[in-house]
Symmetry: C2
Subunit: 135 residues, 2 copies
DNA sequence: TTTAAGTCTACTAATTTGGTAGGATAAAGC
DNA sequence: GCTTTATCCTACCAAATTAGTAGACTTAAA
């Protein structure tokens, strides 16, 4: 399951996608419109900024805005950033790989199945973008 | 990600699938062979028994064994039982559905996408069984 | 009746998640 | 250059979940 943080992130990003190229948007505006705890949202947006998804402007007239065209930002990128691995097992994760501990088998059926699941999921989330959230 | 508990469950079930129709298997044997903490495994097996996946026999010569043919036990069933929802959002879950809180939108792009992901995953885990783990 | 097993309830420790506090920093506008 | 408005940053806290343990109880076989 996606964490609440991830759900908040997607709500905020959806809002910012709708306002793309309309200048900075206040955190407080996003928090209010999307019903997200303000200080929690601060953290989330900052994290998205550090990952180059968002950019911001301080002081009067400031706020957050998308750094890139929302049609270029893959869903997979956001999920990995805020939620973590997409795969169901560390040993089949592309970005968070960890080798199987204690798995002395030469061949593992679960592994194979989870690769299938991973690829089926990636086929979707690697080919959808923030823009798709607003259509 | 699947919890460690789920991974232990699958390891144990794989072992019991290999020993299907060969009589009861000791918890301690499974724990040792699959390197699972004994007392933790006890809880897991008991849970699987209560869900009618396993059956057991007490006393000397006792142990656990599959109640049904492993080719009849869907992966999806085990995942839901031990790990929880397969969907990425409560509002798109078939077995753990909860309606979207604070989602005042008439239409939600994230929702649609997560239904796609869910269905892609289900297509796999509803059509694979414990037997597939040993092939 | 002893021994070998699973059953059950309850607890504890560690980790993750969700959220908050409050000061530091930077930019705009007078 | 002060004041205001906003983000930035570090640290903290509470609740929930996950992982694992303890120990007494029950049942069945020999």
């Amino acid at each position: 399951m996606l964490s609440k943080k991830s759900q908040y992130a997607f709500k905020a990003l959806t809002y910012l996608t709708e306002k793309y190229e309309q200048g900075p948007v206040l955190i407080s505006e996003i928090a209010k419109k999307k019903k997200i705890p303000l200080k929690f949202l601060e953290n989330i947006l900052l994290e998205l900024k550090k990952a180059d998804i968002l950019d911001s402007k301080k002081g009067k007239g400031g706020g957050y805005f998308l750094k890139q065209n929302p049609a270029k930002v893959k869903m997979a990128t956001i999920i990995r950033l805020i939620n973590g691995p997409i795969a169901m097992l560390p040993c089949v994760s592309l970005y968070f790989y960890e080798r199987c501990k204690n798995c002395n088998e030469k061949h593992c059926g679960l592994h194979d199945m989870m690769i299938e699941v991973r690829d089926a999921t990636l086929k979707i989330v690697e080919n959808r973008t923030l823009r798709d959230l607003t259509i």
